[in-house]
Every structure is written in structure tokens, then in C-alpha cells.
Amino acid sequence: MKSFIRSIGMVFLTCLLQVLIFRYGIFAGGWVVTCFHIYGLILLPTELSKTSCLMIGALVGASIDVVLLTGGLHMSAGIVTCFMTPWLTTFIAPREGFIREHSISVLHDGWGRFLALSSLISFVYMFTLFAVEGWKWSLLPSAIGKGIASTTMNVILFAIFQGLFGPKPKSKSHTTSTYHW
């Protein structure tokens, strides 16, 4: 439960950062778009029910749409992403599965798994976003290109945040005094 509340707080925080700061992160003529709120979706607990995940994705997307005036694009992308997230998580999960109340982190799962899951989720999100935005079959190749470019940028951003603010290993230094007072 504690993990779930922390994750919801993280989702809210990432949405806030997206709205206040990262909304301006649009580069290379719209080919690279920053969507920091995906980081909140990545950090959702792995044992979260698929229905809850779907609802959270829809709510996050709708909230971003309302603020950024993107008219349903983020909601659509959020729903598709959160619908696929449980399968994507299973895809990269270790053989024995994730431990209970677990949200992915570099400390527990290593850089490989974190970057793989971030890339998959980001790509699904960004591809859906650009595909729905294009609304034409002929624009799907450019949606894939934009998806890859934006995913690269976003994953770098998530890695930086994970490195700076992610869970840290507990200090191994011995705190007991060597002197026998």
C-alpha cells in the first residue's frame, strides 16, 4: 500500500514537472518531444492490477491533455501504454518474477532492465502519440521515427533522474565504535 501511495505521488509529481517545465522541451522541429510524466508510469508498482493501471494511464493522459490543450492525444497514448505495460513488464522480468510491492529501479533491477523497460514504455507511448496525431496510415513511418527520437531523449532524461533521485544503496560503513568505552 505504501509503495502504491508513493507511486501515485510520483505520478503526480512527474505530471506537475511536465506541465511546468518539460512542456517546453520540444526540439528538432517537433521530432523530439519530452514527456516526463511517462517516468511516473514506469515507476508504477509491478503488481498493480491491470484495470487500475489502465485507469491511471487514462487519468494522467487526460490531465496532461487538459493542461497542454492536446485534445486527447496523451490520453490515448496513456491508455495504450498502460494497457501494454503489464505485458512489457513480464517481458523484462527476471525468471523468478518481481518481488512484491516492487517498482522498477536501477538499484534493484540494474541499469539493463531499467533502460529496457523505460525504452519499451516510452516508445509505445510516443509512437501512439505521434500515430494518433498523424491520423493517417501514410504518416506511420514518420511516427516511428519521431517515436524513436523522442524515446531516446526521454530515456536519457529518465536515466539522469534515476541516477540522481532514484533509490540509493544503504551505507556499508560500520557505525559501531571500535573503542570499548
Binding site: V19, L20, K50, T51, L54, M55, A58, G61, A62, D65, V66, V67, L68, L69, G71, G72, L73, M75, S76, I79, V80, F83, V132, W135
Partner: protein, 271 residues
């Protein structure tokens, strides 16, 4: 039917996904293809209120600075506007119409609960202020400078027992003297109005411009009620003052560029 319900329950996640996706795509369609769609309108309204709330939160700390810059801008525009008004009058009535200049300031000390109230503004002689200049609050008459130091000015507001103000009823009405009775800070009394003058509650009371303190036509207040005494040849009028002394903060001081020339003429005549 039961089978259908069981099927929906069994695949509720898929059904929910399709339902939510349909909502999202219809939103996309309404905002991209038909911008006047209801969903788009709701989205726009919500977005506007959200952005407004976020913007207000962000800009709150800049409010004072924004107010000051608005005051300066307002003052500059008023000076320009009065210059244009005088120019048009110059062409038709007088050859030598004087230009008015507005100087913005902030009230830093004030009293409204005494009989002889005073205000202190944060601009003084260094900003070009001098005794005799009129003070406007939100574009309406509020007071008059009596003393200036280098950085501050002492202002007598309309709500001061020892002040008299030359005002006019409407654009072409009679000129009378406005003074404050010392009772309520919202009301003052206009005297010396001939009985022949037809006055109605709600009529505007504006500056006459004869004192040289304000340009003519600046709003002072509105007529609240008439006080007529049978034995008297004049009638009195209770005026509801337009200046809000409870919330007074940002003000402007009016100065006429050729007032020194007019003053020298008056002194010569008096001698």
C-alpha cells in the same frame, strides 16, 4: 444476454480499454477535426481554468511589481490622453491649452478614521511633485498635495475637514463647493448649488478645473440625495465619493505644465 454479460465480465479489461480509447479518440477527433465540439469546449474551459490557476500561482509573487508597472503605464497613457484632449480644446476654444502630466506613486501611510485625515505618498520633490498638485486614485479625485520632502509627499484627501473642492454637476451643470462633513468617508456635501438647478440622484459630479489642481471632467462622485431648505436660496447635495479610501494604494499626481505662468498672473492681479 447472460452469456454476453459473462463475456463482458470476463474481458472487462479489454472492454474498459476499448471504451477509454474510444473516449480519447473521440476527444482527438473533436478537437482536431471539429474544433467546436462540446468535448473540445469543455476541455478548453477546463484548460483555461487550470492554466489560469497555475498562472496565478506563478505570478502571485510578481503581483506588486506588475501593479507598479501598470501604474506607470497608466500614468503615461493618462498624460498622453490629457495632452490630446487639451490639443483638441486648443483648436476650438483657447489658443494656449496647457498639457497635464501624471506621476505615479504609492500610498505608504494613511488615516481615514480622524476628522483631519492625511495620506503620505512615496514620491516627493525629486520626482517633480510640488504642493498644490492633485491626486487621483483609480482615475478619480482623491486628494491634494500640501507638503513635499525629497522622497515623500503629504496629501490632504477629500475626507479632510479643512478642504474645499471646486466641482461641477455633470458636464454643463452648476459649479459648487465640495467639502467633507467628517461623518462617513464615503460621502461628502456639495453646497452653493442654485435652486434652479435640476438634479437627480446618480448624476455625476466632476472637477471644474478652476482650481488648477485637476483637469476639468475628472469624476469626483455621484449624487446620492438632495438637501433643500425652504428659507435658503441654494440647495445642498450629498455626494457618494468615487475614491475608495479603504483600499487606496496606487495613486497618480496631476501637474499642469503652465501652472507657474497662471500663478504669476494671479499674483500680479492680486497685487
Amino acid at each position: 444476454m447472460r452469456t454476453l454479460i459473462q463475456l463482458i465480465i470476463r474481458n472487462h479489461r479489454l472492454v474498459l480499454f476499448v471504451l477509454l480509447e474510444m473516449i480519447a479518440l473521440s476527444w482527438v477527433a473533436s478537437t482536431h477535426a471539429h474544433p467546436r465540439g462540446n468535448l473540445a469546449k469543455i476541455g478548453m474551459e477546463m484548460s483555461a481554468s487550470w492554466t489560469d490557476a497555475v498562472g496565478r500561482t506563478i505570478n502571485f509573487k510578481n503581483l506588486k511589481e506588475n501593479n507598479s508597472s501598470l501604474l506607470i503605464e497608466n500614468s503615461r497613457l493618462r498624460t498622453k490622453n490629457l495632452g490630446y484632449q487639451n490639443r483638441s480644446i486648443t483648436n476650438t476654444i483657447s489658443k494656449f491649452g496647457g498639457a497635464w502630466k501624471s506621476t505615479p506613486a504609492e500610498i505608504v501611510r494613511y488615516s481615514t478614521s480622524f476628522k483631519n485625515n492625511v495620506l503620505v505618498a512615496n514620491q516627493g520633490s525629486l520626482s517633480g511633485l510640488r504642493p498644490g498638485m492633485g491626486m487621483l486614485e483609480n482615475g478619480v479625485v482623491a486628494g491634494l498635495i500640501t507638503e513635499v520632502s525629497e522622497n515623500h509627499s503629504l496629501v490632504l484627501p477629500v475626507i479632510h475637514l479643512n478642504t474645499n473642492w471646486s466641482v461641477r454637476l455633470g458636464c454643463f451643470g452648476a459649479v459648487g463647493i465640495l467639502n467633507w462633513s467628517g461623518e462617513s468617508i464615503e460621502y461628502a456635501t456639495l453646497t452653493d448649488i442654485p435652486l434652479s438647478e435640476h438634479i437627480l440622484p446618480g448624476d455625476s459630479v466632476i472637477t471644474s478645473g478652476f482650481q488648477g489642481t485637476f483637469p476639468s471632467g475628472i469624476l469626483v462622485g455621484k449624487v446620492e440625495e438632495l438637501i433643500v431648505t425652504e428659507a435658503d436660496e441654494f440647495q445642498s447635495v450629498t455626494i457618494k465619493l468615487s475614491a475608495n479610501y479603504k483600499k487606496i494604494h496606487y495613486v497618480e499626481f496631476m501637474s499642469k505644465k503652465d501652472s507657474a505662468e497662471i500663478d504669476s498672473l494671479l499674483i500680479t492681479t492680486a497685487q
